[in-house]
């Protein structure tokens, strides 16, 4: 194809958009709507998984030591635990701290506790490490590791909670994947639908062009350009919408539900969009491109 024909194709692509305004708007609208919904759920699911991960990493395992274990030995155990890469945080709870926490929860004022036990600390043996992991499904292995360490008397962990969280985590993972996949399929189906219709109603035009002696490439080029433009506009618009909406929602929630902020951190817009932008552009432009290629092919066989 000559350079002048390339220019012609590009100009025709743009002109076609205006000539078939109804279809251009319909196709673009469809892509925008689909990718908007797709992006919306992508954001929701990413945040949801983030929240679960946050909960996951706050489940703690308490490690108690053999009687009269020296502080040095305890420190050593701490160092040993820290080397494991599934460890998220590790905190030392002294017996004093433990007793204070307990009596505070059980008695109203320190005086009452002191009245009951004097200055004896009934939890003198209760120094512990509180450990959180970054993957609750590794808890069972990790507990086994802890129990094998010399000097540890008891490992207190809630298998139930950890198992629940890791089940929830796996479940949400599958579900997110399933939902994103379904949304993707539906988007592709719908977008392809409108593009097919848009080109099919022009089949008589395509037929005429072929009869006049146009090559397939010549007829197709403007349709492909058109498809790419529709795909491009159709992916940029929802991205912009989503960006502002996401910002708005984050700020709204930060203001309205202050308490959530500590429970739950929104994935920052940058992290979110650095994956969402390429995915969305790929889908939009990809469908615009391949959709027009495939659909024109059907009508070019004359």
């Amino acid at each position: 194809m000559k350079i002048s024909s390339v220019g012609y194709s590009v100009r025709q692509g743009f002109k076609n958009l205006r000539r078939n305004l109804l279809f251009s708007l319909a196709s673009t609208g469809t892509i925008i709507a689909c990718l908007f919904v797709f992006g919306l759920f992508y954001c929701v699911l990413v945040n949801f998984r983030g929240a679960i991960h946050k909960i996951e990493s706050s489940i703690s395992i308490a490690v108690f030591f053999k009687e009269d274990l020296s502080e040095e030995a305890i420190n050593l155990i701490g160092e040993q635990i820290k080397t494991r890469k599934e460890v998220n945080t590790i905190d030392y709870i002294s017996p004093e701290q433990a007793w204070e926490d307990f009596s505070e929860q059980t008695y109203d004022d320190p005086a009452a506790a002191r009245a009951a036990f004097g200055d004896d600390n009934p939890l003198a043996q209760s120094a512990s490490y509180m450990i959180t992991l970054n993957d609750s499904s590794k808890q069972a292995d990790f507990v086994q590791f802890l129990e094998s360490i010399e000097g540890i008397r008891k490992v207190s962990s809630s298998t139930y909670t950890a198992d629940s969280i890791s089940a929830i985590n796996a479940f949400v993972g599958y579900a997110s994947f399933g939902i994103i996949f379904i949304l993707l399929l539906v988007s592709i189906f719908l977008i392809n639908n409108t593009i097919t219709i848009g080109i099919t109603v022009r089949r008589e035009e395509i037929r005429i062009m072929k009869l006049i002696g146009a090559t397939n490439g010549f007829i197709r080029a403007p349709f492909i350009i058109e498809g790419i433009i529709i795909g491009l506009v159709g992916s940029i618009v929802p991205l912009v919408l989503l960006y502002y909406l996401y910002d708005l929602v984050i700020n709204y929630i930060a203001g309205r539900f202050t308490i959530l902020k500590s429970l739950f951190e929104f994935t920052p817009p940058f992290d979110m969009f650095k994956t969402l932008i390429p995915i969305t552009l790929l889908i939009g432009i990809g469908i615009g491109f391949f959709g027009s290629i495939i659909t024109t092919k059907k009508h070019l066989d004359i």
Binding site: I208, L211, T215
Partner: protein, 230 residues
């Protein structure tokens, strides 16, 4: 040397209608041929076969020395570019102006823009539509659309012109203008095949006349006249 050649061509539509039956035609380069015949006798089918819009159920077709049956699909445009067609129902691109419709035929063969800008107005003037170049087909009268179709067929100065009823929507004067134009072009060496119902024109022009009746050639005479059906 024959530019159009049909050997034992039969065209049976999927509906069962046999539109052409064992047709043998040879048209020499530079000839002017009228194809006449009652309505439904297969004239448009004949044109569509030459364009390879239709593929015959039987027989061999050769256009400009190319055997259409042997032609690969992605080579069909090679033949079509040698032909300028006026379709019976015009087949204009309805979302483009008159100018763009005619220019399109030139763009297809990658004519440089500067030629297009010169040749399109010239050919529109030739068919008397210079002041309608901005109109869309739906804004034209029947006869005007027909002349746009003619302009599009002529603009590339093709080897062969196939005109299916090119004066069906024209008054006698314009019909004669069109026929004289085709005659002139033919005089310069272009092969012209005209399908028509215009008895007067056929009788006056004294060209070769091929008469079809229910898909069969019933007469093929040089300097012939219109044969009325009994």
């Amino acid at each position: 040397m024959s530019v159009i050649k049909m050997e034992n061509v039969t065209m049976k539509y999927p509906t069962g209608t046999v539109a052409l039956k064992d047709v043998n035609i040879e048209i020499e380069k530079g000839e002017f041929v009228f194809v006449v015949g009652s309505t439904g006798s297969g004239k448009t089918t004949f044109i569509e076969l030459l364009l390879r819009e239709l593929v015959p159920t039987k027989g061999r077709i050769e256009v400009a020395g190319i055997d259409l049956a042997r032609l690969k699909k992605n080579r069909i445009h090679k033949v079509r570019r040698k032909i300028g067609v006026v379709f019976q129902n015009f087949r204009l691109l309805k979302d483009r102006t008159v100018y763009e419709n005619v220019a399109f035929a030139q763009r297809v063969i990658e004519t440089p823009s500067r030629y297009i800008k010169r040749q399109v107005p010239a050919v529109l003037a030739l068919v008397g539509l210079e002041d309608k170049y901005k109109s869309y087909p739906r804004q034209l009268s029947g006869g005007e659309q027909q002349r746009v179709a003619l302009a599009r067929a002529l603009v590339n100065k093709p080897e062969i012109i196939l005109a299916d009823e090119p004066t069906g929507n024209l008054d006698p004067k314009h019909s004669w203008d069109v026929m004289n134009l085709l005659d002139e072009i033919n005089a310069k060496g272009t092969t012209v095949v005209v399908v028509t119902h215009n008895k007067e024109i056929v009788n006056v022009m004294k060209k070769r006349v091929i008469t079809l009746k229910k898909g069969v050639i019933v007469s093929d005479v040089q300097k012939g006249g219109y044969i009325d059906e009994d």
